[in-house]
């Protein structure tokens, strides 16, 4: 997690999202998904800037198909936001940084975006 992004697997998923005291944004991605690659650096930036308020995690759906199936994910990138272990938001499709911050605004204190 050099870039501040936690790598999840099927084995570590449940515990990580349930035990976190901050909302966890899980980026479901795969190697063959072009748009996923475009948002990865943006999520890295958000992880650095919002470390106090959010945990950013990623899960490779190719290697961990069980989680994608469990949450009925049929399109990537999809971002699932977990708060106290529950899915509270679902963002489908790649987006730019301003738009992502806006969508995540409810989990951030008085954001200027």
């Amino acid at each position: 997690m050099a870039d501040g992004i936690v790598t999840l697997t099927t084995a570590t998923f449940d515990e990580t999202v349930a035990s976190s005291d901050k909302p966890v944004v899980v980026d479901l991605w795969a190697e063959w998904c072009g748009p996923c690659k475009m948002i990865a650096p943006i999520l890295g930036e958000i992880a650095g800037e919002q470390a106090e308020h959010l945990t950013i995690a990623k899960l490779n759906v190719d290697e961990n198909p069980e989680i994608a199936q469990k949450f009925s994910v049929m399109s990537i990138p999809t971002l699932l936001v977990f708060d106290k272990g529950q899915v509270t938001k679902r963002l489908v499709g790649a987006k730019g940084k301003p738009q992502l911050l806006q969508e995540l605004g409810e989990f951030l204190p008085n954001t200027s975006h």
């Binding site: 072009g34 748009p35 475009m38 049929m74 489908v92």
Partner: protein, 315 residues
Amino acid sequence: MSEHHHVVIVGSGPAGLTAAIYSARANLAPLVIEGEPSSTSDQPGGQLMLTTEVENFPGFPEGIMGPELMMRFREQAQRFGATFLTEKVTAVDLSERPFVLTVRDRQFTADAVIVSTGAQSLMLGLEAESRLLGHGLSTCATCDGFFFRGQEIAVVGGGDSAVEEATFLTKFASKVTMIHRRDALRASKIMQDRAISNPKIEMLWNHTVTDLVGDEQLAGAVVRDVNSGAETTLPVTGLFVAIGHRPNTDLFKGVLDMDDAGYLVTRPGSSWTNIDGVFACGDVQDHTYRQAITAAGSGCMAAIDCERWLESVAH
């Protein structure tokens, strides 16, 4: 406060990035406002970001993945001094020089502008689309094909992109129905042969999609026979739309000359638009060829036209 550049390039597909390589090598230090990430073709890198193997780009006899090709274009432009802004232009003022481009709350001025905003895929325009996008309805076969392993799905359209998507999706799906409003494909011969000879692809000619079935997950597509008007429901869990493109020219309405379909009009044999100092290249001004290589070629033309024009006004 605004930031000034000799050349600003709007859009970053093969056309914009080739214009960036050429104008960077001409020491014009272009700024490329490359667009924002999205899951449609309206994103940095353009339409090739959603494709898999590109087999017809000269110089790559083994083929190359679309996103990788675009990353290479970008690196080549960066190597010669092009800089990038990963956002979208929100407004332009081309009424006087320097031209002004607005990106949300920031302003950039430029002596010359190269427009290479490309084209984006059309959606069906159905109300159910927003509800089912990401729940069976997809804009990106390469991203989402994986989720339809062993399922029956459909592709709407009859051009090269539709055939390419259908062929790609047969890697995962048990059956792919191609829904096309005509009785013959528009795709090139080699692509047609691939579709027709693929045992997993079935053609549904002379049909259009009129509605989608399913509340939380796609369960079917309502299709209408264009001749009889009869409607039936095709039970598919996935639907991929490849019915064509529209040029990204909303920013330039009433400012730059366009044809009835919204494509920018350039002076024949050049990249000149109706405004001196504003040049256009790539799919935003080409609905005939629409290839990566022709877009790149026109991007080169735009950079050379732009460089010569800047020289002429400097003297």
